[in-house]
Amino acid sequence: MSCNIPDELRFHTDHLWVKAADNVSEVYIGVSDFAQKRLGTILFVELPRVGETIEAGSAFGTVESHKVVSDLIAPASGEIVEFNEKLRDAANLVNADCYGDGWLVKIRMQDAAHLSMLLTSGDYRALIGD
């Protein structure tokens, strides 16, 4: 399965990507191309509300497809500053554009240095055997 793994992003072993936002301490988080392909057509994404905090390595929401309901595992700790409201009525944006319109949440990272500790695109490609 050939996957699009952009070099400018960082990844977590549980298949979410992280991208630095304009503000250094803030990052966008989304589902990797590998994960969205494995999930199949996505029906619903359950996300935390603005102001809630998420913890690296712990579930912060769920993604539901025809095949499975899967926990979303936080790649970094921080506070939710925004979530993708478009997913409410169009969860399959995650399938259509997982690195763009299908982003999940934006968080203010507890520790901005954490970003550099995540997998590079090369590491992630190796992990998924791509």
């Binding site: 619903f44 359950e46 025809h66 499975v68």
Partner: protein
Amino acid sequence: MREIVILGGGPAGYVAASHAAAHGARVILVDPKPLGGTCLNQGCIPTKVLVESCGLLEKVKRADAFGLQLDGAVSADWAALNRRAASIIAMLGQGIERLMQDRRVICMRGYGSFVDANTIRVDDDILRPDAILVCTGSVPHAEPQFNVDHEVIGTSDDLLAWESLPKSLMIVGSGIIACEFAFILDSLGVEVTVLASGSRLMSWADKDISLVMQREMRKRNIQVELNCRVQSLTHTAIGVNAFASGKVVTSAERALVAVGRKPNTDSLGLANAGVLTNGQGEIVVDDVLRTNVPRIYAAGDVNGRSGLAHAASAQAKLAVDHMLGRDFALISDRAIPVAVFTNPEIAWVGRTEEEARADGIAVSSGRFDLRGLGRAHALGEISGFAKVVVDQNTGDLVGMHIIGPHASEMVHEGALVLQRKGKAAELFHTVHAHPTVSEGILEAVEDALGQATHKPLSAGRREANVLQYS
């Protein structure tokens, strides 16, 4: 021939009357209201009529997903829904009355109360039966600070009598009644907010069931506020405000207060008979439903042992068997199934994993997501799972927990195994028809005992397989 007076004609009282009369007792059944009790007239039955219409409405709205073309719109008509409920209630109520006639049960329309431990007064009539069974049920309970006025702020009894539906509704509570009404009213186009005092809905259910139900509510745009202990409800010019932690947490056009029910014993004169009640007014009974006073029994909601109609009926039959000196079998509350008609349905029987562990039982559990089943996809209802809890040492089935389509029908195979204190492996050895949702139970048992056929191979399969106990 023994004479029995039964106070209350709900699922405990009329079932007791039928059972006792069928076994030779002379029975007088006393109820001021139409037979069938809360269950038939203001509870189980009217809400299930609504649930069925709502389910159909939701499916019709998804007609295109089923390859059906719908010309024109479909919408719910609250008055018509209630007419359908009323006609079903009337038909079933007549059925109960005919059953009573068939058994030569004497039905008295009136309020019965105790004069003393041997005497019941019904209006001007004095009865001195050989035994008395109290089955007066329960009524919705709402503290004064909720300001129930029945029109804008009401209980479930009031809501079913409302002539129109509000645009928005807040529901205070997170139990069966609160959750069922949340889905019903959402389907009927009402903006619903559920205010739950605990950290999850239906806090005594399996915790994964609560999570799925909360997700299903969020999918439907039902607002769920957890850890929200409502202190009071107040009327405003345009509706209702809910206060928690000293501030307004939500506003809506109307409010449903569904925070519990209390035994209906206020006007029974129990003190005249010396019948003991506990702090909440529940009549204290023993294993065969006897009160502290000889020949006075109490069955159903009024004794606080269960809030379920089918438990009430089972208790009523046991009480009658005991008072008539017939063979009887005690009821295991652990084997009484619970069914909740949310969308998807929820049903369980026995202990949750947490309850079992708290009771000192080492358990393992197996789970299967129903979306792995062909039937669930054909139904277009893939959310939910079946879970079984198994005693690791004995292989006994400890609990079964289901959320998904037809859960209320599926749970009985678990109830059957539990009432006979059977093994989970009995379910494994029972061939399940294909394609059915019940296959999910088989897979869950397989998952608990080793490896489900339709799940990826588990890495840590246990060496000691409980199948060996079968």
